[in-house]
C-alpha cells in the first residue's frame, strides 16, 4: 500500500520503512519553536531539571512575537526569560525586536524550516509550514520542553484527508477564501486529528503566500497538519533561503485517504467567517450589511507581502472610512522593508491606516488594536472566537486582505469590486 507525503515524512523521521494511520511513533524533530507566550513554561521545565545543555542549540527557534515590543511588565518578563535562556544555552535562532517577525512568516522566510522537515511549535499555527512540503504541527509547552531535551516527539500517525481543487479562481479570491470555504464545509472539527492534504491544478497554480495561508488554517478545522506537495513554486521560494539541505516528498498514487473532497474553486466567492467560529462562513455578498469599527490586516495567516500588495491595490488613492481604524501589520521586517520599497506603506499612510511593527498583537487580543464592548472588526487573522480580539462582547469577522481593505474604505463589510470597480 502506498503512502502519502505526510506518512513518508513521519516514517523517515521515525526510522521506519512505512507508517500507517493509528500507529504511535516517536519522531526525530528538525526544528522545535516556541514564542513569548509558550516558551516560558517550557523554559521553566528545562531549568527545573538542572540540565546544562539542550539537545541541539541549532534546532531550537525562539520567537518573541505575541506581545512584543513588550506590552506591559509581565510580558517584558516573559521576553526577558527567553532572551536569558537563549544566551545561556546559546540558542542559534533567537530574534529580538528589530529582527523578529511573526514566527510562521519568519521561519520559512529565513530558511530555518525547509521541505521534508518535521517541525513542532508551541503555537497552534505551526501547521503553516506544510506549504513547503514539511510535516509541521502545534504542540504545548511540555511537549516542547521534552523535544528541547531529547530531540523527539510522539505522534499518532493521522488519518489522511485529501482535498483536490480544480477550476479557475474568480478575481479577488485567494488562499484565504479557499480555506475559509473548506472550513465552512467541514466544520471546526471536520479534520480533527487528521491531515489535510491539498492538491490539484488550482493548488499548483497558487502562489506560495496563498499556500501558507491555506496550511496555516488547518488547525481551524481541528487538523493535525495541512500539507502541499512541493513543486517548482516551492523550490523557487526555498532557493537562496534554505539554511539546511532539504528533501522533497510526494504522495504515492495508491496512498489511502479516509476522505477525498473535490472542490471547484471557480464557484468560490470571497468569504467572510462570522462570529464566533471560523466555520461560520458566508459569501461576502451576504455580509455587506455589517458595519465595522476596525480592520486588521496582518497575522501569520495574511501578513505577507502579497497580502499587503492586494490591500494596497484597493486602498490606493482612497481614505479609510472615518468610522473605522485600519491597522496594517507587516509580518516580518523583510516584508516591511519590501512594502516600503514598493511604496505600499506610503499608500497605507496616505489612506490613513495605522502601520505597526511586526507582532501577533491584536489577533489574539494581546495589544495594538483591542476591541471595546460591542465593537466589530474585519480581520485577516485566523480566529473569531468569543473575546478573541478584546471584549467578550466584541465581534471578529474573518476575511482575505482584499475584503478587509475594501471594508476599511466602506465602513462596512464590502466586496473589493465595490471600491475598485469590476474592471480593475
Amino acid at each position: 500500500m502506498g503512502m502519502t507525503i505526510t506518512q513518508k515524512i513521519l516514517a523517515e523521521h521515525a526510522g521506519r520503512e512505512e507508517v500507517y494511520p493509528g500507529e504511535l511513533v516517536m519522531c526525530k524533530v528538525d526544528i522545535a519553536l516556541a514564542n513569548d507566550v509558550t516558551a516560558p513554561i517550557a523554559i521553566k521545565q528545562v531549568k527545573e531539571l538542572g540540565v546544562k545543555e539542550v539537545w541541539d542549540r541549532e534546532r531550537i527557534a525562539l520567537v518573541p512575537d505575541h506581545f512584543v515590543p513588550a506590552k506591559d511588565i509581565k510580558a517584558a518578563q516573559q521576553v526577558k526569560m527567553m532572551r536569558d535562556f537563549a544566551r545561556e544555552f546559546k540558542i542559534k535562532h533567537f530574534w529580538p525586536e528589530g529582527r523578529v517577525g511573526i514566527e510562521h512568516a519568519l521561519l520559512p522566510e529565513q530558511g530555518v524550516v525547509v521541505p521534508g522537515d518535521v517541525v513542532i511549535g508551541a503555537d497552534s499555527h505551526t501547521c503553516t509550514y506544510g506549504a513547503l512540503g514539511a510535516f509541521s504541527t502545534g504542540v504545548g509547552s511540555t511537549d516542547m520542553a521534552y523535544a528541547w531535551l531529547t530531540g523527539e516527539v510522539w505522534f499518532k500517525v493521522p488519518e489522511q484527508m485529501k482535498f483536490i481543487y480544480y477550476g479557475k479562481r474568480k478575481k479577488w479570491v485567494g488562499g484565504k477564501d479557499i480555506i475559509l470555504y473548506v472550513i465552512g464545509m467541514i466544520g471546526v472539527d471536520g479534520a480533527l486529528y487528521k491531515t489535510m492534504e491539498h492538491t490539484g491544478e488550482a493548488i499548483r497554480e497558487l502562489p506560495m503566500d496563498d499556500r501558507f495561508t491555506i496550511c496555516n488554517m488547518a488547525i481551524e478545522a481541528g487538523a493535525k497538519n495541512g500539507i502541499i506537495e512541493p513543486d517548482e513554486k516551492t523550490l523557487e521560494y526555498v532557493k537562496g533561503r534554505a539554511k539546511r539541505p532539504y528533501k522533497l516528498y510526494k504522495s504515492d498514487p495508491d496512498a489511502e485517504y479516509s476522505e477525498v473532497y473535490e472542490i471547484d474553486v471557480s464557484k468560490i466567492e470571497p468569504q467572510v467567517a462570522f462570529p464566533y467560529l471560523p466555520s461560520n462562513t458566508r459569501p461576502v455578498s451576504e455580509a455587506t450589511h455589517i458595519t465595522i469599527d476596525q480592520v486588521v490586516i496582518g497575522s501569520c495567516t495574511n501578513g505577507r507581502i502579497s497580502d499587503l500588495r492586494v490591500a494596497a491595490q484597493i486602498l490606493k488613492g482612497k481614505k479609510v472610512n472615518p468610522n473605522v481604524r485600519c491597522i496594517v501589520i507587516p509580518a516580518t521586517q523583510e516584508i516591511y522593508r519590501q512594502a516600503l520599497k514598493e511604496g505600499l506603506i506610503d499608500i497605507f499612510l496616505e489612506a490613513e491606516c495605522v502601520v505597526s511593527t511586526p507582532t501577533c498583537g491584536p489577533c489574539l487580543g494581546g495589544h495594538m488594536g483591542i476591541l471595546a464592548k460591542g465593537e466589530r472588526a474585519v480581520a485577516t487573522t485566523n480566529r473569531n472566537f468569543v473575546g478573541r480580539m478584546g471584549h467578550p462582547e466584541s465581534e471578529v469577522y474573518l476575511s482575505s486582505p482584499a475584503v478587509a481593505a475594501a471594508s476599511a474604505v466602506m465602513g462596512r463589510i464590502a466586496h473589493p469590486e465595490e471600491v475598485v470597480g469590476e474592471s480593475n
Partner: protein, 167 residues
C-alpha cells in the same frame, strides 16, 4: 492519577475554545494560580468563583480547540477541577492535558447523561464514570497504552527524567 475523582458537574457546549478557557489577555503570565482566577471566564464569567476543588467539567465535542496554550489545562487544573469529560477533545489540548496530568475522559454518552450540578465520580484507572445523582454509569474511551505510560510516569516531564536518567 490516583484515587477516585468526585465533584459537581459544570456543563458547557460544543467547541469550547482555549480563548474561552483562558483569554489571551491573561497570558502575560504562566503562574497557575493567576491563570486559575480567570478559568473559563469568557464561557461563564462566574465560573472561577463557583468552582470548588474536585468539580468536574462536562462539555460537548471538540473541547479545547484553538490555541496550543498549555495555560488552558493548567488553569483548569489549578482551579481544582478534578476531571474534564467531553464528547471529544481538540488534539493539542488532549496532548497538553496528558502531559501535565489533567485527567480527561472522552464519553459522548456520559456527557448526554450528566446535567449541570449532578454529582459525578470518575475512576481514572478503569475509565468508569458514575452519575451519583441519577444513578447511571458510563465508560470512557480507553487511553492507548503508550500514552498511558506518560500518565503513569506522572506526566511527560517525569517521563523525560526517567528517559534522561535524571531520576
Amino acid at each position: 492519577m490516583e484515587g477516585v475523582l468526585k465533584g459537581r458537574a459544570f456543563k458547557f457546549g460544543d467547541d469550547i475554545n482555549t480563548d474561552e478557557i483562558i483569554p489571551a489577555r491573561y497570558l502575560n503570565t504562566s503562574d497557575p494560580k493567576e491563570l486559575a482566577k480567570h478559568v473559563m471566564e469568557d464561557a461563564d464569567p462566574k465560573f472561577p468563583e463557583k468552582v470548588k476543588p474536585g468539580d468536574v467539567i462536562v462539555a460537548g465535542k471538540n473541547f479545547g480547540c484553538g490555541s496550543s496554550r498549555e495555560h488552558a489545562p493548567i488553569a483548569i487544573k489549578a482551579a481544582g477541577v478534578s476531571a474534564v469529560i467531553a464528547k471529544s477533545f481538540a488534539r493539542i489540548f488532549y496532548r497538553n492535558a496528558i502531559n501535565i496530568g489533567l485527567p480527561i475522559f472522552e464519553s459522548p454518552e456520559a456527557v448526554e447523561g450528566i446535567e449541570e450540578g449532578d454529582i459525578v465520580e470518575v475512576n481514572p484507572e478503569t475509565g468508569v464514570i458514575k452519575n451519583l445523582t441519577k444513578g447511571t454509569e458510563y465508560k470512557a474511551t480507553p487511553i492507548p497504552s503508550d500514552i498511558r505510560k506518560i500518565i503513569d510516569a506522572g506526566g511527560l516531564m517525569e517521563y523525560a527524567k526517567q528517559k534522561l536518567g535524571l531520576k
